[in-house]
């Protein structure tokens, strides 16, 4: 029995009551889902490190942060900033500033007929039946406080629907910006993505901060990949270094789908990324790639959960981490193979490179296998730069720092090579080099270490 304390649920009860007025224009089914979600959250409050899934990531800095919903800010964001973060992609782009959709900063792209890329709030107001079937039907609010909070409070986000047999050739970009004009503000971006049968699309969700105040982003993404669809998801987490970011991707794969996710996490003081994949029918393949690079006192946590529910599916995970300064990392990869899921092929790898003596990583694979004809492998490594390689490079005239950068870059290169969208790959190659050449030990003044140390 978990007893809710006021501290545990922070200021959210008042806020939820306040919001009810505004949400009263929403359809009854949505109001009801929000009520249920809030009730679930109130019951448990924020998870503490006693919760198995939060053993190494302490959300206390978020829980005691007294976060208020970001108000519909009038903050001016120059189009040049958006263009830069848009990486020169010409496809459809939705831009959100402090949680609110900004049509003026967005671009329609040229989408095939029937494809919808719209503000979720707009759809909820104008055509709610479009989202009723799936919104908040997959991302579980029971015992998932952050998902419950998002569900109770989300103000906007994106709705993407690709009709059957439709190929969207240009990546769809969903860009979330936090101006952090006021301190201790939170946004709860909500995304619903439905890829029809035999459709193909690449979707990018990216998160950037533009200000120095403390803010928190708590996103939830539900993705439904229809039969024989090809879906590529990119998550770019590049929050400001003082910010908190928590995000969930809940992905439901139908029959014969091909799915790839790429998680690129560079920013944030305290970051928690969850990806849950349900392989719900036969013959699907999913690749989960991840790269995190942290410094100073940053803390980054990746949790993956692959649920092999049906036979003949493959899941390949490769997450790589580069940790410098006093940063800490967590990787927790869980693979469930149900009794029915024969011929499952699941590979999980997590590799970490520690660039300093103070950096640390906790990495844990969890396998629950109930079928007998399967192949499941996992591996985790935590290492330093190879001394002999360093000496080899230096003996050829390359200085210590450049040698370090070259070897670190090489460590991460295979994750970047898997990125199929060239501007994103180029951007992150540059980001990584830039990250490497930054002065070590960047301290974020308001950053609290997620993990309590003695």
């Amino acid at each position: 029995m978990v007893v809710a304390t006021e501290k545990n649920i922070g200021p959210f009860l008042d806020q939820f009551t306040d919001l009810k007025d505004r949400q009263s224009v929403e359809p009854a089914w949505l109001r009801q889902r929000r009520e249920v979600a809030f009730e679930r959250f109130s019951r448990t409050g924020f998870p503490t490190p006693r919760h198995e899934e939060y053993k190494y990531t302490n959300l206390a800095p978020i829980a005691r942060g007294d976060f208020r919903l970001a108000s519909s800010s009038a903050a001016k964001v120059p189009i040049e900033t958006v263009e830069k973060l848009g990486l020169g992609l010409s496809g459809a782009r939705l831009v959100f500033v402090d949680g609110q959709f900004r049509a003026g900063l967005s671009q329609p792209g040229s989408l095939p007929g029937g494809v919808r890329v719209e503000s979720l709030a707009a759809v909820a107001a104008s055509d709610p039946s479009l989202i009723e079937e799936h919104l908040s039907r997959h991302a579980d609010v029971d015992d998932h406080a952050l998902t419950a909070l998002n569900t109770a409070f989300f103000q906007d986000g994106a709705f993407v629907r690709i009709p059957d047999r439709t190929v969207v050739s240009e990546p769809i970009h969903l860009l979330f910006l936090s101006t952090a004009a006021e301190t201790n503000r939170v946004t709860h971006p909500r995304l619903l993505i439905e890829a029809g049968s035999q459709s193909e699309a690449s979707i990018i969700e990216s998160y950037y901060g533009l200000g120095a105040n403390l803010y928190w982003t708590n996103s939830v993404v539900e993705v439904l990949a229809g039969e024989n669809s090809h879906v590529e998801l990119y998550k770019i987490q590049h929050e400001e270094l003082q910010a908190f970011h928590t995000g969930l991707i809940e992905l439901i794969a139908g029959r014969n789908t091909t799915i790839a996710t790429h998680s690129l996490s560079f920013g944030g003081a305290l970051v928690r990324n969850d990806i849950n994949v349900l392989l719900n029918d036969e013959g699907s393949h999913c690749d989960l790639n991840g790269l995190y690079a942290v410094n100073g006192s940053q803390h980054v946590d990746h949790h993956t959960l692959i649920d092999h529910a049906k036979p003949h599916c493959t899941s390949h995970q490769l997450y790589k981490g580069v940790l410098d300064g006093r940063s800490t990392g967590v990787f927790n990869g869980k693979i469930i193979v149900r009794a029915d899921a024969q011929k499952t092929d699941a590979i999980q790898n997590n590799k970490n490179l520690l660039l300093s003596r103070e950096a640390e990583v906790n990495t844990k694979p969890q396998l629950e296998i109930d079928a007998n004809d399967v192949r499941c492998t996992h591996g985790a490594t935590v290492g330093q730069l190879d001394k002999e390689s360093m000496f080899y490079l230096r003996s050829r005239g390359i200085n210590r720092k450049e040698a370090r950068n070259l070897l670190t870059y090489a460590f991460a290169a295979d994750i970047l090579e898997r990125i199929k969208i060239e501007p994103i790959r180029d951007h992150f190659e540059a980001q990584l080099m830039n990250w490497l050449t930054r002065v070590p030990e960047i301290e974020a003044p308001q950053a609290k270490r997620g993990k309590e140390k003695q």
């Binding site: 080899y392 230096r394 003996s395 050829r396 005239g397 210590r400």
Partner: protein, 257 residues
């Protein structure tokens, strides 16, 4: 060019070099021979700047400067090159990128501008021909999937591109078949010049049939126990290292007493 005086070196508390003196001038080729465990590779490593060593005595002067005071990259930038006995595999870094980065670091140190891609390629192609290197080797990651012989050839190839003033070849011949050995020797000989010195560290005399040294030094028990010209190498080949080791023991006793 290189003056080693009474150099004494410890590795993990064990005294490996016990007072080595060596004088290498421009244009000379010196061979350092000796049985396994005599300290040959330690000497090469100390000169290149490997940090597992503790210098307990003596000095090394390179072009009038204190070599032991320099970081390995500075030594390389100042013109020292060591061909590794065991070249390192570096996944994810292409040979081409690696070599261009190294060359431009050295050029920068010399106050020269970066070599542009076209000039770099032209030079690389020419040097690759000399060592009969496959074009594909350049785009592959450094030493990844290379055979033993290819790795050693790659070392010499790097040397021909970086054009050092002082090259130290650490057992470059070990493990090579005769064809590979000839190729490597050809590469080294092409580099011989009045401005360049080469120190060849080897266990076997065979390499010296192809790279003919001006001087041969025999290292045993952490000391140079005998120096001579190329005929010394032939003598060693004939008689083996046994008699040298006996002599080293005697000398050691003399020093000890």
């Amino acid at each position: 060019m290189l003056e080693v005086k009474n150099l004494a070196v410890k590795v993990e508390d064990k005294q490996i070099l016990k007072g080595i003196s060596l004088n290498v001038k421009k244009g000379e080729v010196h061979a350092i021979m000796g049985p396994n465990g005599s300290g040959k590779s330690t000497l090469a490593g100390v000169l290149a700047g490997r940090d597992a060593y503790e210098v307990t005595g003596g000095s090394v002067t390179y072009e009038g400067k204190d070599l032991l005071d320099m970081d390995p990259e500075v030594r390389a930038q100042e013109g020292i090159f060591m061909a590794f006995q065991y070249p390192v595999e570096i996944p994810g870094v292409s040979n081409m990128y690696f070599l261009r980065t190294a060359l431009n670091a050295i050029r920068e140190h010399r106050g020269q501008s970066d070599l542009d891609a076209v000039d770099f390629m032209a030079m690389v192609k020419e040097r690759m021909k000399l060592l009969k290197m496959d074009d594909a080797m350049m785009t592959r990651a450094v030493n990844m999937g290379f055979s033993g012989g290819e790795k050693k050839r790659n070392e010499i190839f790097q040397m021909t591109v970086l054009e050092p003033k002082l090259a130290i070849l650490d057992e470059t011949d070990s493990g090579l078949d005769i064809d590979a050995l000839k190729l490597v020797a050809e590469g080294v000989n092409a580099m011989r010049s009045a401005e360049r010195a080469i120190v060849v560290v080897t266990h076997y005399q065979r390499l010296l049939d192809y790279i003919v040294p001006d001087y041969v030094h025999v290292l045993a028990g952490g000391r140079i126990v005998k120096s001579g010209d190329k005929s010394l190498a032939l003598e060693l080949e004939e008689k083996g290292y046994g008699w040298i080791e006996e002599e080293a023991t005697k000398q050691g006793q003399l020093v000890a007493s």
